[in-house]
């Protein structure tokens, strides 16, 4: 972006609007409309007491009803507890995994990273069912095995409990989500500071604690905030494992209001608003931390080394630890999931001829399947490409020292993360219908892609932001001195350096676009139905096995994209 100013004249008043400022204001306007308006519609709707189609009558009734129930407060507390309890070990494991993969000479790092991606995209609903088959107190495979032990006389495991929920979450996407986001920034970390720490006599642990982790604090904190809020909104696992044990979480309460007939979106929005308050508090502390005197720059124009930490005798042990963790937490339930897709009835091994290809055959012969597959691929491609272009630019503006609207822009980018998907979908539906966007977006693959791109904004923006924070300003300055334009610098220097991050969030968004249900559910039409909606339809009608087959197929598509994307990302970043 050139620093030359463009004179602008408005009603005789002449002022200079710099391109940088113009871009920032345009972005702010775009996000205010695209993200602020849906929220405004939702909040206004939450005060409307009259039924749809009737003249609006405003009042506090929906809010009072939503919060006057003791069960809501109990559910909120349970959500906090579950989210907080699993955040600490999950962050520790994720940081360890990311560090081992990206910063050390542990063998098989690439394979383990690939597996983290695979694990992230395994659909959580069938995965939870697989854990039930393994851990159920009455028929769980592991409990049956444990009964053969001499000192065991009852079930060892019980998934229908607080700790059962925590366990399943530690195996499901949540932990891999953190690894995926952290690995590229760990990889980006230059080795010079670590080498300096070594020269100063620090051992590996001290270096990790005093140098590596503080340098990566922006991303680690961002991931922690994202994960905590994601944890509060978590739903499927709690529904399957919590309800039989009488454990209700906050998102279940919101779900109840939405599923009611007629649906009570007013109360659901009122309950959803608590996430905005939590986000505001967390962002306040996050910004305070980032705006302190700390520096997070690790890539500068003054030499950049990517040498890895040598683990010595711990190499094999680290590798074995990772493999063991993944085998227990992912491979075991994944195997059950794959087997389940070939079973006449999921988990019933004792019926006659329990295995069948029928679910796969029915899936592939479903006339809707091929159309949905095509739609999904189009939607995911648009979402991925658009997201990378848009949010890398937003992140660049956010870290720019000249930014004046940074907090407002960042706040707007965080908004989709705090709205439950179905509410975000409803807000965007209102946005489309109330504006000329409806002619292009409503009911089309473009509209779904637009909505999914908006919902990706927090993760994508924060990932790019953390990446830009790692890049020294001297890189840009050096380029400018040699006569490069802003666009040339951005394209040839900054983006290649951020390629691993772009690859990671791009794949995450691609996979998210293939699996997201709640955002497109109100926006699709017969012609634009994606695979995820087909998955929902199978779930509604209890076709669990066909759903498992479809879930695995989606995971396989993502795997293929992952292999291609990772290769491209590594090539662009010069690491291959």
């Amino acid at each position: 972006m050139s620093t030359r100013s463009t004179p602008v004249e408005v009603s005789g008043f002449r002022f200079r609007l710099r391109p940088h400022r113009a871009a920032e204001l345009s972005m702010l306007l775009f996000f205010a409309v695209a993200m602020g308006l849906p929220l405004l519609f939702l909040v206004a709707g939450s005060f409307n007491l009259s039924p749809p189609g009737k003249a609006a009558v405003y009042g506090m009734g929906n809010w009072l009803r939503a919060f006057s129930d003791n069960a809501t407060i109990e559910a909120l507390w349970m959500s906090f507890l579950l989210s907080a309890v699993r955040l600490v070990p999950a962050m520790a494991i994720a940081v360890l995994f990311a560090w081992l993969i990206a910063r050390t000479d542990m063998p098989g790092g690439n394979a383990i990273e690939f597996f983290c991606w695979l694990a992230f995209f395994i659909p959580d609903f069938p995965l939870t069912l697989a854990w039930i088959l393994l851990l159920d107190p009455n028929y769980g495979f592991l409990n049956m095995l444990a009964r053969h032990l001499p000192f065991v006389d009852g079930p060892l495991f019980n998934p229908y409990s607080f700790w059962g929920i925590v366990w399943v979450h530690t195996s499901a996407g949540g932990i891999w989500f953190k690894v995926i986001l952290l690995t590229p920034v760990f990889r980006r970390l230059g080795a010079s500071l670590e080498e300096a720490a070594r020269v100063a006599g620090a051992d590996t642990l001290a270096m990790l604690r005093r140098v590596t982790l503080p340098l990566l604090a922006p991303m680690i904190l961002a991931v922690a905030v994202l994960s905590f809020i994601r944890g509060l909104q978590s739903f499927n696992t709690e529904l399957l494992l919590g309800t039989p044990a009488g454990i209700y979480v906050y998102s279940t309460r919101i779900y109840d209001y939405i599923r009611r007939e007629p649906a009570s979106y007013g109360e659901a929005t009122a309950l959803g608003s608590i996430f905005i308050v939590i986000l505001a508090l967390m962002l306040f502390f996050y910004w305070r931390f980032l705006s302190g005197k700390r520096k997070f720059t690790v890539v500068t124009g003054q030499g950049y080394s990517i040498a890895r930490v040598k683990l010595g005798k711990w190499r094999s042990l680290a590798f074995a630890g990772c493999v063991f963790y993944m085998a227990v937490m992912t491979v075991l339930p994944l195997v059950f999931l794959i087997i389940g897709s070939f079973m006449r009835r999921y988990g019933f091994f004792d019926i006659s001829s329990p295995f069948t290809l029928a679910h796969w055959q029915n899936l592939l012969s479903d006339p809707i399947f091929l159309v949905a597959l095509k739609n999904s691929l189009i939607i995911a491609t648009i979402t991925t490409a658009g997201g990378i272009l848009l949010y890398s630019a937003v992140a660049y503006l956010l870290v720019s020292r000249r930014s004046i609207a940074g907090p407002a822009l960042e706040g707007l980018c965080w908004l989709p993360h705090v709205l439950p998907g179905i509410l975000l979908g409803l807000g965007i539906l209102w946005l489309f219908l109330a504006t000329p966007l409806r002619f292009f977006f409503y009911g089309t693959v473009w509209g779904i892609a637009f909505a999914l791109m908006l919902s990706d904004s927090p993760v994508t923006t924060q990932a790019f932001r953390a990446g830009f924070l790692q890049l020294g300003s001297d890189l840009e300055e050096a380029a400018r001195v040699t006569g490069a334009s802003w666009w040339y610098t951005y394209r040839r220097i900054l983006l290649p350096l951020l390629a691993p991050i772009a690859g990671a969030v791009g794949l995450m968004n691609f996979g998210g676009a293939l699996t997201s249900i709640s955002t497109p559910v109100l926006l699709y039409s017969h012609q634009s139905r994606p695979l995820a909606i087909l998955l929902l339809e199978y779930s509604v009608t209890g076709e669990l096995e066909r759903g498992a087959a479809l879930g695995l197929l989606i995971t396989a598509i993502i795997c293929l994209m992952m292999l291609a994307g990772r290769k491209l990302g590594l090539r662009l970043s010069g690491l291959q």
């Binding site: 749809p52 009611r260 649906a263 009835r345 109100l522 199978y538 509604v540 009608t541």
Partner: protein, 363 residues
């Protein structure tokens, strides 16, 4: 001479009927032509396999008109439709929705048009083809919502490896301490079949029974329908209050000893209009195709496909019922509790559900 007189009498009776029949046929053929010009019909309803695998291809084969299915949960579909309509968009032609959605959202919020005058297909309009002597319009005005099915609902399921049929003769048998922790139910604290059943218990047997059944008996709750039928088959919870027949019947075929109980001595059996009620959207974008579909789905062919696929008892007289579960067929002379009765849906069940929730909150 007597023969000639008889023939003349028959002709004098039959001629107007024939003329009427010809007029009806002409009107029907004109409808088909007009519908073909529209080319498609948008149906909002459940994404059930019968619709996807049988109804959609059959209708296309019969008339060359594509069904575009807007499938999903009722609450999501109605939220979407209401928002669309508030912005002047009318995208749905026909609704195949559950009784709550039909009564509360579609009829209650005037989203639908009268259907009665649109049913012109000869075999649909003919009262003799219907068990009640006419098409059953369930709404208070008897014009909007067609109820096409009436099956006896399964009251509960038991796994007879764990529960003997003679141990489950009355609803009060459910309170036997032996079954503590052995009963599963869809979560009654939210809307759905779990709270509908609980409302019925409250209505028939009172607050104390509900408290004992759901709290003291430690009835295991879930929101996932397959979990209940799996527990039933494995015997973890061998008594299931809200299992779905279409989930359980494959288990019976696989040899699991599962028994459907349709009535208990202290609670009469119930009938319902599952799987859907038929209504026609007002300002439908494809009104002729919608009318054609509405007629066809109530025909012997259309309703027959659903009755076979879903195992539901239709209200037509000309559909083969020999393949249906005998327990689902209403018995003559038996008075059933009608779970799809309009007043029960709109007021009674709603009130009892609130009472149930108060009991469960109070614990």
């Amino acid at each position: 001479m007597r023969t000639i007189v008889t023939l003349l009498v028959l002709l004098s009776w039959g001629a107007p009927a024939m003329a009427q029949s010809k007029a009806g046929e002409k009107e029907w053929n004109a409808l088909i032509e007009a519908a073909k010009k529209e080319g498609k019909v948008v149906v909002a309803g459940s994404p059930d396999p019968v619709m996807r695998n049988d109804i959609m291809p059959k209708f296309k084969e019969r008339y060359g008109i594509a069904i575009e299915l807007l499938a999903g949960r009722s609450s999501e579909i109605t939220a979407r439709v209401k928002t669309e309509r508030a912005s002047g968009i009318y995208s749905v032609d026909v609704y195949l929705a559950g009784p709550d959605t039909t009564a509360v959202a579609l009829y209650g919020e005037k989203i639908i048009d009268p259907l009665r005058p649109l049913l012109i297909m000869p075999e649909v309009a003919d009262g003799a083809k219907w068990k009640l002597g006419k098409i059953w319009f369930a709404d208070p005005e008897e014009r909007y919502a067609v109820r096409a099915f009436s099956s006896v609902a399964t009251f509960l399921f038991i796994n007879t490896d764990h529960v003997k049929p003679e141990e489950m003769r009355t609803a009060k048998d459910l309170l036997n301490p032996k079954w503590r922790g052995k009963i599963s139910a869809e979560d009654p604290t939210t809307t759905g079949s779990g709270s509908n059943a609980a409302a019925r218990f409250y209505h028939d047997l009172g607050e104390d029974f509900v408290r004992k059944l759901y709290i003291e008996q430690k009835t295991v709750r879930t929101r996932e329908r397959r979990q209940m039928s799996d527990w039933l088959a494995r015997g973890t919870q061998p008594i299931c209050l809200n299992c779905r027949e279409d989930d359980v019947r494959p288990l019976v075929k696989d040899g699991f000893k599962i028994l459907e109980i349709f009535e208990l001595t202290d609670m009469p059996g119930s009938i319902n209009g599952s799987p859907w009620m038929l209504t026609m959207a007002n300002r439908a974008p494809n009104p002729k195709a919608a009318q054609l579909f509405a007629n066809w789905i109530l025909s012997r062919e259309g309703l027959g496909i659903y009755a076979r696929g879903y195992g539901s008892v239709s209200l037509r007289t000309d559909i083969d019922e020999t393949n249906l579960n005998a327990g689902n067929l209403p018995k003559k002379g038996v008075k059933y509790f009608d779970d799809t009765d309009w007043n029960w849906i709109v007021t009674g069940r709603h009130e009892y559900r609130q009472k149930v929730w108060q009991v469960l909150k109070g614990k």
